[in-house]
Symmetry: C2
Amino acid sequence: MPSSLKIEARDPKSRARAGTLKLAHGTVQTPAFVPLATKGTVKGLEPREVAALGFEMVLGNTFHLFLTPGHELVAKFGGLHEFMRWDGPIITDSGGFQVFSMGHGTVADEIKGRAAKGADRRGAIIEIEEDGVRFRSYVDGSERFLSPETSMEVQAALGSDIALVFDECTPFNVSRDYTAASTERTHRWLERCLSWHENNGPRDGDGNSRQLVYGIIQGGVHEELRRASAQVIAASRAGGIAIGGSLGENKDQMYEVVDWAVDELPEDRPRHLLGIGDVDDLIRGVELGIDTFDCAMPTRLGRHGMALVPDPEGRWRVNLAAARFADDRETILEGCPCPACSQGFSRGYLRYLLRSHELTGMRLVTLHNLSFVARLMQDLRSAIHRGTLAATATALRGGAAPGALSGPERA
Amino acid sequence: MPSSLKIEARDPKSRARAGTLKLAHGTVQTPAFVPLATKGTVKGLEPREVAALGFEMVLGNTFHLFLTPGHELVAKFGGLHEFMRWDGPIITDSGGFQVFSMGHGTVADEIKGRAAKGADRRGAIIEIEEDGVRFRSYVDGSERFLSPETSMEVQAALGSDIALVFDECTPFNVSRDYTAASTERTHRWLERCLSWHENNGPRDGDGNSRQLVYGIIQGGVHEELRRASAQVIAASRAGGIAIGGSLGENKDQMYEVVDWAVDELPEDRPRHLLGIGDVDDLIRGVELGIDTFDCAMPTRLGRHGMALVPDPEGRWRVNLAAARFADDRETILEGCPCPACSQGFSRGYLRYLLRSHELTGMRLVTLHNLSFVARLMQDLRSAIHRGTLAATATALRGGAAPGALSGPERA
């Protein structure tokens, strides 16, 4: 498959690159953040709102959409784009992460490298075998089965622009041997996914594929396993490459693991970092050569009343429900063009709405957070094009508000 | 107080009238529906969205805002308009309805004339006395007190364009004697509200009142009590007149009770029907001479997945969560200009969102319902101006879609 990524600028001091990712439903300026539309909607928002914030792609989830409403139903509507009324590119996660999280712990546990807590589990794994994973649906308790082939079949029915291969998301708290064996299986599953896709994947009238498939690098936090996995994916016929699995127990380890992986990758294929989206991680990820990111963080934090703000101390967030905001008449962030700030909703009002569990409050903070991340990514893209990434990254880390730094997108 | 209502057209065959209600924060074309912003937000929507649907006034609730965040806090923000960022007119309910509902049953029970169910009660009444009502807050369990004076004080602090007097919302299942005594107290409280307001109500720089006070007609379902109460309110210094309390156990009784009340009212003062907003009730209410209506119905139904639709059989609603919509690719209502229908969201997609408890689904149906009611009211106003109300009402009752009938607003 020919590369869909056109690299237009490179940062001289890091691996960062900026370009255009051409997909069946349009192009994505990279590096880019991809908001989650896990269940076929960016929670609380209309597609036009997501687009207006500056996002060009969203991520739908195979696991959840497979369980409800079901990919056959979505296909009846003409695919996920038509179903959810988003006409730009869509990436679909393969479901591997969610399926294995049921066995290993929650999504957050996985990302953070925490031990699994039974109470947080959704559904249950019945059996993991070479063919695939049998599990119990959290929707209706029925027994379901996902394999490399069924995951690709679901993603074909959804009609996403980018499909991810079905992988075992190797947990953090396992031995090196388990990680090695698990990574090997992910590699075998990669081949099955690519074969299925080559024979059955969505094509246009001229027989050209309408779906780019990304392989997923596993290998845990073991350097030689990560590098070997990256080499396997890089040598495969996958059109793009994602970095998955547990990336360590702290940010430094995560950056190191990502660096090992990217070190083994060719320049020409797009790179996606799965499930990472903290503000500092986005800046560092771009420097490490990542093209796209997805994460629940901006939207999930928003629903819980945590607003993204510039912060030289690196927390990048403030809890709007805190008592100190009760009579605060300022907006979340001065000069911020998001719907919450630009319309003058005060921190005090937002605090009140959040504490009253009003949907309006959750929505306004979600809009602010996504707007913040959109402008951050725009700053980073713009800086790469202008050859000023180091200065921009330093300014952002020092507490500069995103958006203030953006010149024209292209130099 | 000089009348703020300018009647511009009258229907020759009913009591319906159309005009302009001039208030401190702007004018309202009447007859009009007033969406609820009970706790300082129309649930899930931004003010600009409510305005874009065609609404010119919203209703905030004194009881809820008194308990949290508190009127003193709202006043620090410059009043409710500034707090919630709605710059058009606001009407505030007095809190009487909510306070007495704690003793008598829920809001819905009251409206429908059903007996109180303990489990649905919010907070608890500690004591009803001539001075006011002592009750326990549902927010924090603290003991609170509302009286005619405190209600007016709260509404002055909120800075609403229209304040309602503090009344006893007489329950349905009480004796005629209780109703008579309760209505008498409401009349005594009216005087106290008007006196407080004349001495302390919000005024502009020239000393003119910036808040119109509406008296509330009670009297239950007893003709002579209703008529007598209407006469008392009409003879008072109240600038507008609301019809409150239990209006009966069915729609025919409600229309009869409203008719008795309006029969006693002067033409020159604006009339508000409290808590009524079913589609058929809006049509009939306009014919009965009502100028403004408020009701939780369109927004509450929306959050529960019930969408308003034309219906010659008079139900006017459809449950989008029903299984029959699972693969339905049509929008809620063909040709509907609301954000849900005009963007092509299908019934099948909305059903899926609603069953998945996604906020986006609740919001889209809420937007549809409010849009439906806005266009219905526009049709009725337009018809009065053109002298065609009877035909328009017949067409709407026969299943015509609102909006199809509207010519220019003015003849």
